[in-house]
């Protein structure tokens, strides 16, 4: 199976390749820190905020776009 974001070989039991799997893990792990920082923050708000930041990694932004598309569908 191919990665849904970059057409590289996907990891076993994942829709992403190794690079995007790591990006997704980082995104999920960091959500806890953000919730702790702002006390109340939904997953959607979190994604919107992270996507806008200059320092957010390119692969993370690709995962966010994918997540947002999935939500819209």
């Amino acid at each position: 199976m191919k990665c849904r974001l970059c057409q590289r070989e996907a990891k076993e039991k994942s829709e992403f390749c190794g690079r995007h799997v790591v990006a997704e893990e980082m995104l999920r792990d960091t959500y806890e820190k953000w919730k702790n920082a702002y006390a109340v923050l939904s997953w959607g708000e979190y994604l919107d905020k992270v996507k806008q930041l200059k320092g957010t990694g390119r692969w993370v932004k690709e995962v966010i776009e994918f997540e947002k598309r999935k939500d819209n569908d």
Binding site: V22, A23, M26, W34, A37, V50, R58
Partner: protein, 700 residues
């Protein structure tokens, strides 16, 4: 030519023509005669010790290669030394030079190797003595010098010895063979895998290239998977007798509610300054430059790439203005005539005042930690300028001179003031520093630091908290390597040598693995590391190359023939090639796909505003060879295209035009300031400009 020269002369072999001229001028007591044969300059001279002929190489006259003409053969382990002109096109004059040296060697009585005293210089000299002079490497004398000044050269030739530097030559020759084996075999299998798909490109990787590329790729992956986390910086605005004093809170706050509470708790409170501490501290002069430090400092201050700095330093050395630059040493030994050098530097207006001050003191330089048995730290020689230096040479020379002067100066002394203000459980800290004595920083102005004064506060002063200010921030991703920090990382990890590190970084850029000033790994760089990670991870690890460096160091010190290192290399490579061969098809596919992505990424200037899904990229017409912008969806669903200026470099600006939403590019041409251009030929902004130009009022 040998008839002209007669019999029984001493043949001196230098590394470069400029060095040969310097050597001839230094040791010739009568006038030096230059003879040009087949376009090669040779110097003839006599002194009390007899007749001398000085000739020079032009870098490496001999290089390692395999015996096969077919570049698709691998693995290759049967290597030999060949004249460099046979191996690389575009090296002019090597054949003639070797022939001239060969003829000169026929009637020479004594041979002297006067190439630079380091691994590369020793290898150059050894190969010439062995192959061009007919096996004179064991009987030749070795002249060792660290500057090209007359005094140093005379001493070096008076003390020339047989066998000096033999270990260096063996280590150098072994290094060349080992590196060639790694480079050629891995590059050939990668290139062959690439070519399986009918595309041709040199894909290279090597013993030092591999780990260096891995550093950048690893860092790039960290950046691309980075998610910033929020934090707040807090400042307290205090008032003392009507004067506002802003004091930062000691640490970052990671919870928004924490800041809210702090504001609530502190605002309006009256507090006293709990502590004011003043301490004095000293900063010793920075140690003298070794090549790595010089490269880093020139990059920091002037933006010179490490390889450029090495080139400029080499030029200054050949002009006898500085000592030999390829050194690891941060020490200037007492054998160097400090006072003599300083007195000569004092003849230059810009340094005379400093030199006069220093000559009144006892001259004890501040030494660094590293030592290099071959050469001292880089220092000026005190030799007078014989030509006007170019601006870039002047800057580097000034840097080296000032660092040298600073080394004889006294420590700089500063006062640090730290005031603590406790507001309940929160501690605010104000700190600053003031220069009490500039010391060496006066000489080395490049290290000067600005004072950060603090308002006058005493313990027990009463302050009112007017306001608590906050700023929301986000953690920044790790920095990308630049050429200087990558060089530092290589140094720290102990891979490569002082002579090769800068060149390896250049090769990685040339091969398309890295791009930009802050080095970003390209998709091609990622793919190459992924392939190596999958099939031969040891090539990417620093372990293998560090171990090899240790063995080569042992060869240098013990002077053995390096056979063991070569045999180990053959064993490792054989294993790797055998493991990779069955997967050539997959490796080629992976590399091909990534190269397409890399090329596309380099040429893409932005999104296509016409179709909304394609990317606009720079294309060169096969018919007219002119460049233009076209959409990646052409011809299926989009026909957007636009002309481009045909001269200069075009770079993506990563912004879109505010009028028409087409991408904007940077056009960089010679002798003109770079300019921004919206690529849309029908952009409204251009019409506005034309209208403005037409309606410019005439000058009265």
């Amino acid at each position: 030519m040998q008839d002209d020269l007669g019999n029984g002369y001493a043949l001196i072999i230098c590394e470069k023509p400029d060095a040969a001229r310097r050597v001839a001028e230094a040791i010739g007591e009568t006038s030096v005669k230059m003879v040009r044969t087949d376009g090669v300059d040779v110097f003839r001279l006599t002194n009390g010790m007899g007749e001398f002929v000085v000739c020079s190489a032009l870098g490496h006259l001999y290089s390692v290669s395999d015996h096969f003409k077919d570049r698709g053969v691998f693995p290759v382990f049967d290597l030999d030394w060949f004249p460099s002109d046979l191996l690389k096109k575009g090296i002019a004059g090597i054949k003639k030079r070797i022939e001239v040296i060969r003829r000169l060697a026929l009637n020479a009585r004594v041979f002297v190797n006067a190439c630079d005293f380091d691994v590369e210089g020793e290898t150059i000299g050894y190969n010439i003595l062995r192959y061009a002079c007919g096996g004179k490497e064991d009987v030749a004398l070795r002249a060792k010098f660290s500057t090209l000044t007359n005094e140093d050269l005379k001493t070096a030739f008076a003390n020339a010895k047989i066998g000096l530097g033999r270990g260096l030559a063996e280590a150098g020759r072994t290094r060349h063979i080992v590196d060639f084996m790694w480079g050629i075999n891995l590059s050939r299998i990668l290139s062959a895998s690439f070519n399986v798909h009918n595309r041709y490109r040199t894909v290279s990787i090597g013993r030092v290239q591999g780990p260096t590329l891995a550093f950048v790729v690893e860092r790039e992956a960290e950046i691309r998977t980075f998610v910033p986390t929020p934090y707040w910086t807090v400042r307290g605005v205090f008032a003392k007798d009507g004067v506002r004093i802003i004091v930062p809170y000691g640490s970052r706050v990671v919870r928004q509610m924490g800041v809210d509470k702090m504001q609530k708790d502190c605002e309006g409170m009256e507090v006293r300054v709990s502590e004011v501490k003043k301490t004095h501290f000293k900063e010793a002069p920075l140690p003298p430059f070794n090549i790595g430090d010089l490269q880093k400092e020139a990059f920091r201050l002037f933006g010179y790439s490490p390889s450029r700095t090495a080139q400029i330093a080499e030029r200054l050395y050949l002009d006898a203005l500085i000592s030999y630059p390829r050194t690891d040493s941060r020490k200037i030994p007492p054998s160097i005539n400090y006072a003599g050098i300083l007195r000569n530097l004092g003849k230059l207006d810009e340094y005379s005042d400093y030199v006069n001050e220093l000559l009144e003191r006892k001259l004890v330089p501040h030494q660094g930690d590293k030592d290099d048995p071959a050469h001292p730290a880089i220092h000026p020689t005190g030799e007078m300028l014989r030509r006007t230096l170019q601006s870039w040479e002047k800057r580097l020379f000034d840097l080296i001179v000032r660092r040298f002067l600073a080394n004889f100066s006294e420590d700089a002394v500063f006062e640090r003031v730290v005031a603590k203000i406790s507001v309940g459980q929160y501690e605010f800290r104000l700190s600053g520093r003031r220069t009490l004595r500039a010391g060496w920083m006066r000489y080395y102005r490049y290290a000067a630091v600005r004072d950060t004064p603090v308002p006058k506060l005493d313990e027990g002063d009463l302050l009112k908290v007017m306001k608590i200010e906050r700023e929301e921030n986000f953690e920044a991703p790790p920095f990308r390597f630049n050429q200087s920090s990558l060089l530092e990382k290589m140094e720290k990890e102990g891979i490569g040598t002082k002579a090769t590190r800068a060149e390896i970084i250049n090769t990685l850029i040339k091969r398309g693995y890295l791009s930009g000033t802050s080095l970003e790994a390209t998709d091609f760089g990622f793919a190459t590391t992924e392939v190596m990670e999958a099939y031969s991870p040891q090539v990417l690890s620093t372990h293998l190359t560090k171990e090899m460096e240790k063995k080569l160091e042992a060869v240098e010190l013990d002077g053995d023939d390096g056979k063991k290192s070569i045999e180990e290399t053959i064993d490792s490579l054989f294993e790797i090639i055998t493991a990779m061969k069955p997967y050539q098809m997959e490796i080629g596919k992976q590399l091909n796909e990534s190269l397409v992505a890399t090329t596309l990424a380099l040429n893409v200037i932005g999104n296509c505003p016409v179709c909304g899904t394609g990317k606009l990229k720079i294309i060169r017409s096969a018919k007219t060879h002119k460049r233009f912008v076209g959409c990646t969806n052409y011809p299926e669903s989009c026909r957007a295209s636009a002309p481009l200026p045909q001269r200069g470099v075009i770079k993506s600006y990563s912004k879109i035009c505010e009028y028409c939403k087409w991408p904007v590019v940077y056009v960089i041409t010679r002798r003109r300031r770079p300019w921004k251009l919206c690529v849309n030929p029908n952009c409204e902004s251009k019409r506005v400009k034309r209208y403005e130009m037409q309606t410019v009022p005439e000058r009265s």
